[in-house]
Structures are given as structure tokens and as C-alpha cells.
Subunit: 243 residues, 6 copies
């Protein structure tokens, strides 16, 4: 589980959520990158989270990791991570949308900041779920305030989910931020519809792919990246020529 | 696992494939309907396989089944089964396409009869994978001859997969018939790309959805079907008014 | 005219509507199946209406019928019926959508139950009219209560049509249930827009195709279904091998 | 029947084809405009055919015509004609594509000049048949040479239809020029698939719409054009203010 | 700059707007046709504006014009003009939509009459901007009343732009009529978003294409129209055979 | 002009190409980042080129730059750069596709490595040109070998362009790599179709947007990124809270 931002508390929460659904023989390791933004709330943040994600994937490969989850709803660095990793890599937006389309006809995404709605739509288009995604709704609570003990995020998000279901005519909800994972079961119970958290969904999908012996295709676009010299601050990302 | 046709040997093979990937705490039951076609090779066959599928789902519900796989690549009766079942229902075409898009950019479907290619495209559109599905290719071997011990189906299908990858510029293969499941691992090994069999993929997806507490939404389209009187041959499908 | 449900009064009404527009040399026969649901209000009903529809088509073929209309707005069994019939087969949803796009830029569908809206959208996508279909609106009157003499269905449906035109910015209405056919002329007169009833539209389209010498293509997907043994309750659907 | 070009022989042939399928109570009048191109083989020709088409529609309205067919495969002036006419207006490309989708899964268009293929695709998109249209193929015989008694157009077109069916995996053919109407029955008989000629298809569709009481919606886009002063060569197109 | 209607005041205004952004070495000539409608407010007007536009392009070619702007938001005659002109031809709807997608994620079109909204959508689809176009809104002020000194058009249009941004969730505005060009800077300043006027945008795009040495492709669809005899009122549009 | 890779020779070539088309009052500055890959040939390279691009944009903002071109055909970092920059930002893939659709009906992309074709398609979809993009073809010459004096890249690329036009039925070519810019004029002259180089096209588009007073919308998605603490290697990307 790679949390692309550097907020440790969120990383730990992500690890806990994943472990709660992982199979008995699955070992979950949750990490944050050593570089990058403390939360992801813009294209700028998302783009600059990617080097840290890729450094973690490279470290994971050296450690023999079987598969990866990128635990930010923008799925930052997914394509590049797939080139780098031998095993499967799944983003939590991707996983949540896949799961939602297996249990309903149309889902609403409930996310944090309005300005990230465009990214959610881009991903829905990219993954094939532009028609299944009926709406993207923002609560405009910053990512790092979702878990403030004195906050009302849980209540605000629940209410927004209910409104989204009505407004969109949807029959399922996708939570659009890894920080909302702890609310998932309660919202589902209160609203009586499937509510999908990408962190747990991605955990099960990666487990499933590994069990099925499926790994990212190395034919074509996702083949390992060619050797390349990197310079400056990013010199460590150099991919040496083989041999 | 519901094999929508009445060919028992295929039902047993489907059960074996599913058990090979199921988790230790999952009990797999593979059934065939008591009515309907011995194999599914036309819209006519597919439409007439549905009553048998629904009878098995109804029986499953009485037995407290947690989830269902519809193990024919046309996913016959999927929408109706979802109305009937409390837990998740996944078709093998759906499952295979979902899995393939998680490990590659574009997949080729390799199926049995040419006349079923239209149905495969319909499903790809329905599930959101019209762009990811790069081609549908038929080997024109009838379903029930796939496992003839003296046949060359395995060889023919492998060759067709290789041709499809080249022709379509795809990087993964989806096997378009439950009867091809036994070939899956070998073809993947020989061609060096992910080859997805829907039977095993659907098994893991249903397991995952159950583990995640996700069941088909009962809000709207997939709510239980309203009470209804059925007559004639299909009288047993009557849904009595409650109470 | 095949009414896919077993409600005789509706069958007779469908026959009357069709005869009112049929040409002088056209003989209209309206039938209901001997098996299946008394009305169609769910995917379950629709799937289980198909065997009865196919039995009627098979009977029609033995009687030398020139063409068929499937008179339920979900167009149940259309693909399978096309394989079976020598002449053209048209569904009333299909016919209504075709006609509406010939007289307007965008149509609203006004249908019975909310839960069937998804099916209407699926058909609009399938037939190419996803962009022309501007909205699907439900009056939530059950199919069999549309013609209750003491009911206000006519008034409710008319009002919903007016609201749909405004909400959708559409310029035509498609009535989404064979049971609404008797309201068609009055609603059109009151609202001053084309209101399309699929029963009459399909009657004229099938007549036209027959006159043009056009029958369903037997090349590929719609070729006659291959011989197949059926068992159990559906044994009579067996297609014997030729000769 | 409005033949948008000024070639009288083609106008007569169009009239003959239409009469051959029209009902006993339908009077067919085939006209050519008094101005414009002698055949339509470019966007330039098509655009400049429109004034003549509209003049004929205006004359038809004065004569109380019930409906119109625009008999050129580019459907020139269709939107404007609909504003002008009280009754329905159908183009032959539109009619042919509608009919083809009622009898097959995917059609190939076989047309005259390669440079017109883009227009055929535009219309397929506009009418909702972009997915059903599997290919557009040109024989590169000029429109006015299709009926040369010493020509081999019939043979060339038939061969191209056969090739198109194979190349596109289609199951029906649409003839992409009013001048090909006389070949229709023979090609269909030789190739064993539905071959649709737009002239006859449009004739039946307009007849059907009239019988159904359906006319172009006057709500919104197709309302009669507002009064307007025209000057110069086109002064006669002025629409006077009412009263 | 070709103003497709015959309103001279608008032609002069268009010329002024274009000159205000043109480079120092660009000579702007603004013309109106000698025939056709005094304003364009229906498909009928638009179709009948085309002969005048093409006559101006033909005159321009004789004068050695480097490129053309068609200054009506329906882009009338664009395809035909491209066949005729050696240099690039750009419509103002096209230019405005291109520019808007370079500075925002989604634009709203604010136009004159409701009945022209369908044409704006058609163009958005044609140019690839169906997803970027979030809404089309009409102020229902006739074209020729936009610049009435005593009118409140500027205020009404500004208010509609503000409403459109909110309703559509868009981040840019496209002005849907050449007559609105003079309002552009003020609305942008007041609303704080990019507001695109097609007249100036098209001027810069044509200048840019000329500078880049890019002219309409003469391969295929946009090759010069073949020689053709025109008769009647439109006899002057004859294209003589070469030599 | 930001060349996202660190190859100085390519940066200088990009600057030369841009200056050749820039207006007299435009000052062109071509830069390479101080960090990142020496060429971009994978998703990994592209993702890791973004920090360097953003550092250059930040530097440009401090220097009062009016607008930016991202001169790599994958348009890396475009969304993030737009958040950061006050003036317009255009990518060369975006610019080339926009220009190509203004001079032809369908374009072929000719690019370097096969593995980058997926990215080109993603961008075509994103920008609205999925239908206009008829094919993506790779010459499989590495980026840094395009300008080897002893190489035959120019010849190979020219031949591939000719083949692409035939195979795709396209009428324009888009060169899919900044390194191909020097070949542009010659290929266009030899093949007789518009050949678009994104470097020059983007230069003119940015100039045009600046002249039109159009800058990226700051309403919603592209508003300046919120203050954020960055850590580790990327600490310098911190956006301080205002004040």
C-alpha cells in the first residue's frame, strides 16, 4: 500500500483498512514516500507525488513485493508504476470504480475538494466508466481535516452521499479519497446502498490478480522502461543499461 | 457457479477451475440447470438458458448462497439474477474484461463461434470496455468439441491468440468461453502475456465483493422483482405477494 | 403482434391499435404467449417473457407469418426472434425511437415504473439513439393499471410528458409502454408535439420492410440457430438437426 | 421526391423506383430543381443544391404536399426543409441507414466517389449509426455514368458490395447514391444479404410517418423560420412577415 | 473576413474586431455577400447564406487571398469553402471552441436564439468538443438587435454568462454570435474567466496557419471540386472543365 | 519553450524552430530542466520529467513569462503547469492536433517508439480528437538518434508518413516528437499534404492566446495550487501560505 502523500497518520489508517480485508496469507506493508507533498489537492500536488511513489515501487521491487496499491484517488503514477513493477499495480480510484460497477448500475463519486472533480472524471473516462459515473460531488473539506476528532466530516460526507444518490439517480457511492475509508461501513449501513472505499477494494483486487497469476502485461506499453540517464535532483532514478 | 448449459462435464470442469483459485474458507458449488440448451451458441440458446439460470439462483437463495458466478461468456440472465439474489452476481465475460483491463491496455477476445462475436461486443460496450476491447476473434470450434481428447482445440486456440495480439495491437487475451478455462495457464506461458479466463476471474471477484461487504444495490433497478403471477410452463416462476 | 405478457386485454388493445394503421392488404394477428408473466416490470419478468415470445415466433413461422412486432417496450427476445424468423422482427421501443428521430431532434421517453428506466437507456444506446434520447421519465403507475376505467393514468401521463419536454429540452415524446398506446393521439393534440407510440410505429415499419423486400440478414449473427437439444421444461424448444 | 440535382433522367428513375413501392393511395411526384448542379460530387455541389431543394419544398407547400423525400445520399438541406415543410421530410441516406439497422447488425455503405465518404460518415454520426456503419467504400464511378448502357457499373458495384461485406464483417449493404437504386434487387439476390436503397426506403418511411400522423416537431429547432429579408440573386427566398 | 449575412454594420464591426488583433503585416478585408439573408437565425437562413459565402471565396481566390474566416457562429459553408480556397478557412464557432479548450476544462456557449442551440451542439460534436461543451444558453435577443444603442443586450448577455458558468460547472465562455464580439473584453473582466469571441480567435488562427505554411489538405475530401455545370439562378457557380 | 528532457541539443533545435515562426515582438526562450531524464520514452520518463518542467514554469513566473510551450509530444505536466502559470500553457501534442484538425478531416500521428502510441491515443481522447486521429504509427527510432548526421531518420520517417496516409485514409500528418520538427517542411513538400510539427504550432497558438488576452481559467480546476508543505528531495516545491 503506497500512500502517495507524506502524512503518516493517513498511511497507518490505510494499512489498517487494508489488513482488515486482506486474506490470511497476505502481508500488507503500508508506506509513505520520503519526498513530496503532505496531501494531494491539485494537479501540481499529484504530479509531484509521483517521484515518491515510483521510489517506493523501486524499493518494493528490490524487496520482492508481489503487488501494489496506489492509495490516492487520483491514481498518481499508475502507468509508470506498472512499467516498473513485475506484479500488478492498482489505483484506488480504479479499484473503487471497478467494484462499484459490479454491484450497481451507476455510481456517484463523493470527494474532498471541488477542484479535483475534473481528475475524477478523467479517470472515469480512462477506465471506461464515463457512463457509469453519474456525478462527482465535493464536500470541500481538505484531505487532512477529514479525521479531525472534533470535526463533522463523517456527518457532512454522509449527507452529501445521500444527496448525490438522489441528484444523480445512482445506486452506489464511491468514496473519492483514501481518508474517507473509515467512514465506509457506516455510510453504507445508514443509506442502504453499496458504498465503495477504494483502499479495501484495491487490496482485494490486487490479491485476486496475484492469486490468478495475472501481472501487468510486459508486451508493448508497459514493458520495463528503457535504460536512461537521469540528472540533477532526480539522478537516483537513472535506469542503468543491463549488464 | 452456475453453468447455464446442461453439459455436466463442463459444469464439473468449471467447478474444478473455481476451486483451484478459491480461498480456503470459500465453498464452491457448481450446478447446471435442469432445463434448457446443452450448449449456448446463438441468441436463441442464450435467451432460453436464462430460465434455468434463474431457477438455480432461486434455489441458491433458499440455500443461503453468498454469491453467484454465471459461467457462460454471454453472461445470460445477469440483470435478472441480480434482482433475485441478495449477494453479488458476476458474469464470466464481465469478470474477464474487468481483470484484463487491470493488467493491460487493450485485450483481444478469443471465442468459439463467429456468430457470437456480436454478443461479446455488446457486453464490452455495456461494461464500459468498448475502447479496451481491441478485437473479437472466433476459432469456430463448437463449444462441446473444445475438450475432445483427440481434438486440436488447444493448439488452434493458442495460435488464434497469438494472431489476435498482433492484429489488434493488444497486450492481453480474454478467453471467450467457459470451456477454454483449462487452456488458460498454458497459453499465457507460451505467449508471455496475461491470458484471462472468466471462470477463475469471476470466482475471485465474487469472493472479493463478499469480503468487502458489497452486494448488488437494491436501490432502483436491481430491487427485488415485484410480485407477479406466471402461467403455463413457467408457472413455477411466480413471485407471490408478500405475507 | 406478439404481446410478451399474458394479459389478454392488453393483447386485444395492441391488435386494435395495429389494425388502425395497417394497410388494407395487411392481416394483423395479435397473440399472447401461453406461458410467462402477466406483466413485465423487472429484468426478471422480461427475461422470463422471452420463451413465450419465441414459442409464438416458432408458431408464426409454421403459419408462414411475414413479419413480427414484439409489443413490449423492453423489446424482449428481439435478437433471438430474429434468428428464428424468416421475415423482419421489430420491437416497439426500437420502432418508437426510430420514428421519433425522424420527426424531431431529441425525444423524452415517458414510461411506467422507474426501475425500467435503465432498460430504456440500454436500448437507446444499443439502437444508436443515446444522444437523441434526452431523458427517461417514469409515472410509476403499474402496467396493468394504465387502463383502469376509474384511473387517472391518462392525465398523469400527459402531465409527465409536458414536464419531460421542458426538463429535457426535447421536441418529441416516446411512450414507453404498449399499454399507453391508446393515449397517444390525445397527448399529441394537447401538447402540440409528435408523440410516438411504438405499437403503431412498429406495425408500419414491419409493413414497410416487407414491402421493400427486406428481411433480417442471415449472414452471421442472425443466421438460424444451430440444431440443439433442449431438456427439461424447455424440451420443446429443441432444434432438430436437419434431415 | 426531390432529386437535388438537375439531371432529369435520374429524377425520372427516382420517381419510378418510388412508385414501385408506394401504397395504392399515395401519389408520387418526382421533381428536379430549376437551379443548381447537374450532379452532386463535392461539398460545393451539395451546398449549392440546397437552394433548389428549398425552392421545391416551398412550391410543394403551396401545393399541399404531405411529405418529402430528399433523394441524394448527402441529404442536402434536410434541416432547412424540415423548418419549411408542415409534413415529414426524410433524406435517403437517413432512410437507408434506418432501414439497414432494422434488418442487420452492421452495414457497409457502397458509394460513388471516395471524396464523399466523409459526408457519409458525418451523416452516420448525426443519425446515431456511427457504430452500425462498419465501412464506407467508393467505386469511383461518377454519378452520371452509373446508368450508361454500355457501362459496367452494375458489375463493379456488386463486386464492391461483396468485398465490403467481407472487409467490414457487416451483414447488410446500403447503396450510397440514388443512381444505384435500380441495382438494388439484383445485388441483394446475388449476395444473399439485405441491400438497402434509400429512395424506396425513404418513400415507405415518409408514407408511414404520414399514416401515423407524425410530422416534424415545430417545438424549438424545427419551428418555421422567422420572417427574413433576402437580397440579390436569392431575393425570392424572402420570408415575409405575417399579416 | 466573410460575414455570411448582408448586414453591413455587422460586417464593419467584424472588420474592426479582426483588425484589432491582426498582426502588423496582415491585411484584413471584411465583406458581405451580395445575396442572401440579412441575418442568420434558422437552418433555412444558414443554408441560404452559403451561396453568398462561396461567391465571396471565389472572388477572394481570384484576388489571391491567403486565408478566410467565416464570421457566423454556425460556420455555414465551411466544408465547401475549403474545397474552393487554396489557403486555410476557419469558422468562428470552430475557432472559439478551439481557443476555449486551450484555456479551460469546459466551456459554456452563450448564443442568441434558442432554436440555434442544436446547431451549436452539432458543431461541438463535429469538432470533437462535445465533452468540453458543457451547455448552450440562449438570450433570445435577435441578432440584429444586439447592437441597438438603447438596448440592454450587453447586460443581459453578461448575466447569462454568469448563470451559465454556475449551471454548467464550466470555466470559460464562448460567445455564440459574431454580433457579440464587442462585449467580449468587458464580460471577461467582470466575470474573471476567459470569454472567447470567435471573430478575433479565428483571425489569429488563420494568421497562425498561414505563418506555419499549413493549408487545407487537398488529398481526398477537400480537393478542388470537380468541374460541373450549374443551371438557372445559380449558373454562375459552374466550374468549367480545365483547359 | 520548455523541453522536458535534458538533451541540450534538442532544446536548441526547439528554440530555433520556434523563433522561425514567432512574431517580431515575441521573445523566445528555450530551456531544459536541471533534473530528470535525458529523453522521454516511457511513462516512467514522462512522469519524472514533470518536476523539472514545473521548476522551469515556477522560474518563468518569477521572470514574468507571458506563456509556455511544453515541447514533448506527451505534454507532460500540462495540467499542473496551468495551475502554476498566469499565462497560457500549451503542449506540442495538443497544438499539433488542434492545427491538424483545422486543415484536414483526419490525421495520422507518426512517432518514435511503439510503446508511446498509447499515450498519443490518450491525448487524442483527452483533447477531443479521438475521431480525427486515424492512426498512430511508430518508426522505432529512439528520440536521441533522430538527428544523427549519419542516420536515415528523415528518410524512414518520410516513408512512414506516406504509408500512414494510405493505411489510415487520412489527409494530414502530425509529427509525434519534438525531435522531428526539422523534417516537417520537407515531408510536407514531398507528400503534398499538411504535415504539422507541434513545436511551431504551439508557438503560434500561445502567441495567439496572449494576443487575444486569453489565459488559463483560474475558476475551478486550474486555480493556483493551494499552499502545501513538500518534504525530502522535493522540498523546494513547497508552496508557502500567503502573507
Amino acid at each position: 500500500m503506497i500512500n502517495p502523500n507524506t502524512a503518516r497518520a493517513m498511511t497507518e489508517s490505510i494499512g489498517r483498512c487494508a489488513r482488515a480485508v486482506a486474506g490470511p496469507s497476505t502481508a500488507i506493508v503500508a508506506v509513505s514516500p520520503s519526498m513530496g507533498p503532505e496531501s494531494i489537492e491539485s494537479h501540481y500536488d499529484e504530479a509531484l507525488a509521483v517521484p515518491g511513489v515510483l521510489a517506493e515501487v523501486a524499493a518494493g521491487e528490490r524487496a520482492g513485493t508481489d503487488g501494489y496499491v496506489i492509495a490516492c484517488f487520483g491514481d498518481p503514477g499508475l502507468d509508470a508504476a506498472r512499467e516498473l513493477a513485475a506484479g500488478p499495480v492498482v489505483g484506488i480510484a480504479q479499484a473503487a470504480m471497478h467494484a462499484a460497477t459490479l454491484v450497481g448500475r451507476g455510481f456517484s463519486v463523493v470527494t474532498t475538494l471541488s477542484r479535483t472533480a475534473g481528475r475524477a472524471w478523467d479517470l472515469a473516462h480512462r477506465y471506461g466508466f464515463a457512463a457509469a459515473c453519474r456525478g462527482v460531488h465535493a464536500c470541500d473539506i481538505p484531505v487532512l481535516e477529514l479525521d479531525r476528532p472534533d470535526g463533522d466530516a463523517r456527518e457532512v460526507v454522509t449527507r452529501l452521499c445521500a444527496e448525490a444518490l438522489d441528484a444523480d439517480g445512482s445506486d452506489a457511492v464511491v468514496l473519492g479519497c483514501a481518508g474517507m475509508a473509515p467512514f465506509c461501513a457506516e455510510i453504507s449501513a445508514r443509506l442502504g446502498v453499496p458504498v465503495v472505499d477504494g483502499v479495501t477494494a484495491a487490496t482485494k483486487l490486487v490479491e485476486s490478480l496475484i492469486c490468478l497469476g495475472l501481472r501487468t502485461s510486459a508486451r508493448g506499453e508497459y514493458a520495463p522502461p528503457p535504460p536512461k540517464r537521469y540528472s540533477g535532483l532526480l539522478g537516483d532514478f537513472t535506469i542503468p543499461a543491463p549488464g
